[in-house]
């Protein structure tokens, strides 16, 4: 009788503690700067949900989690050596920052508009009318609105940048935006202008 094949999906080759240290030493200057910049933008994407953490903390958390993952306790994030180390760290940062956002959203009170209902008389009724007027979620939304407005304002005279920004906020990917009539070079040059201007704005 033929034996069933026991071969399944390829097993990940989990890096050891020492291999992680070696990978840190092997990172090129370009990769290191890239990690820092990526972390910085992810933190800015969190807004108030960052709780004053900075990009360095996000990067450190990603590394610590990877080290914990190498210890075989079932915790942390295991680095499969078949995956590029920079890619692993950026994915870890993406996941950690998403988690921070989710946690922050869960801890924040609901927007008044989200809980307003219609009573039997057909009148709008909000249970929040009975609580103090401070509303951190509404404040956060207003701050975000103002920041988005200011970013668009930076490109008042730059139609291409406005098109890219609008594409992004509507959930379009880079290739989808390029289909609107951008060559790759023009798209990348536009993204670079946005990156420069938004980066300068924070300082």
């Amino acid at each position: 009788m033929a034996k069933k094949s026991t071969r399944g999906a390829p097993q990940p080759e989990v890096a050891t503690r020492d291999e992680i240290d070696q990978a840190i030493e092997a990172l090129t200057p370009g990769q290191l700067v890239k990690l820092k910049k990526y972390a910085g933008w992810r933190i800015r994407g969190l807004g108030r949900a960052s709780l004053n953490r900075d990009g360095e903390e996000l990067l450190q958390d990603a590394l610590t989690s990877t080290i914990v993952g190498s210890e075989g306790s079932g915790e942390g994030r295991r680095w499969n050596k078949k995956v590029d180390f920079v890619k692993h760290l950026t994915e870890a940062m993406r996941s950690i920052s998403d988690h921070w956002r989710t946690q922050f959203d869960q801890d924040e009170p609901y927007l008044e508009s989200e809980v307003t209902t219609i009573n039997a008389e057909g009148e709008e009724y909000s249970p929040l009318e009975a609580v103090p007027s401070e509303n951190p979620t509404a404040e956060r939304a207003l701050l975000a609105k103002e920041e988005v407005r200011q970013i668009f304002e930076l490109f008042r005279d730059d139609d291409e940048a406005i098109l890219v920004l609008q594409g992004w906020v509507e959930g379009m990917s880079g290739p989808e935006i390029m289909e609107l009539g951008f060559t790759r070079e023009r798209y990348e040059a536009t993204v670079k202008r946005i990156r420069y201007a938004v980066d300068r704005r924070k300082k």
């Binding site: 700067v33 890239k34 933008w41 080290i67 975000a144 920004l165 990348e188």
Partner: protein, 143 residues
């Protein structure tokens, strides 16, 4: 009606897209952008490597400190525990021999760990082994 929360999401999307745009750049482009901003990218890169090294070292230190603390706690517990061990060294040796005869698994763990034969054990070894066995509750059935 505009969803207020969507502004927060819009802002997040823009920043996350900018984060992803960095990943699409070549190393040379990243370094060139930093130079254009008047930043020395090599110095910056080394400071980031230093942050990563420090995190790695701190984690190693934490593990060591934790292991050290656990060891100290165990030693303190063994020292504090009052065990009624036999008075004479001959009786203590006999007791340990009896335990090992009844529990060969313990004998193999304790002696293999030290690469020793029973006959080579010193008085201190025997007392230490008996205390550890007492701590595990194994001596109770030999009273």
């Amino acid at each position: 009606m505009v969803n207020k929360k969507s502004y927060d999401e819009q802002l997040s999307t823009i920043m996350n897209q900018l984060a992803d745009s960095v990943l699409d750049m070549s190393d040379e482009q990243v370094l060139a952008e930093e130079r254009e901003k008047g930043i020395d990218p090599l110095k910056e890169a080394e400071s980031i490597r230093h942050v990563l090294r420090r995190s790695s070292k701190m984690h190693r230190m934490q593990n060591l400190q934790e292991a050290e603390r656990e060891y100290e706690e165990r030693v303190t517990r063994l020292k504090k525990s009052q065990y009624e061990l036999p008075d004479s060294s001959t009786k203590r040796r006999q007791l340990l021999a009896a335990v090992f005869a009844a529990r060969p698994d313990m004998q193999s763990v304790m002696l293999t760990a030290q690469h020793r034969d029973f006959d080579q054990l010193t008085e201190m070894d025997i007392e230490s082994f008996l205390r550890q066995l007492a701590d595990l509750g194994i001596l109770d059935s030999f009273k």
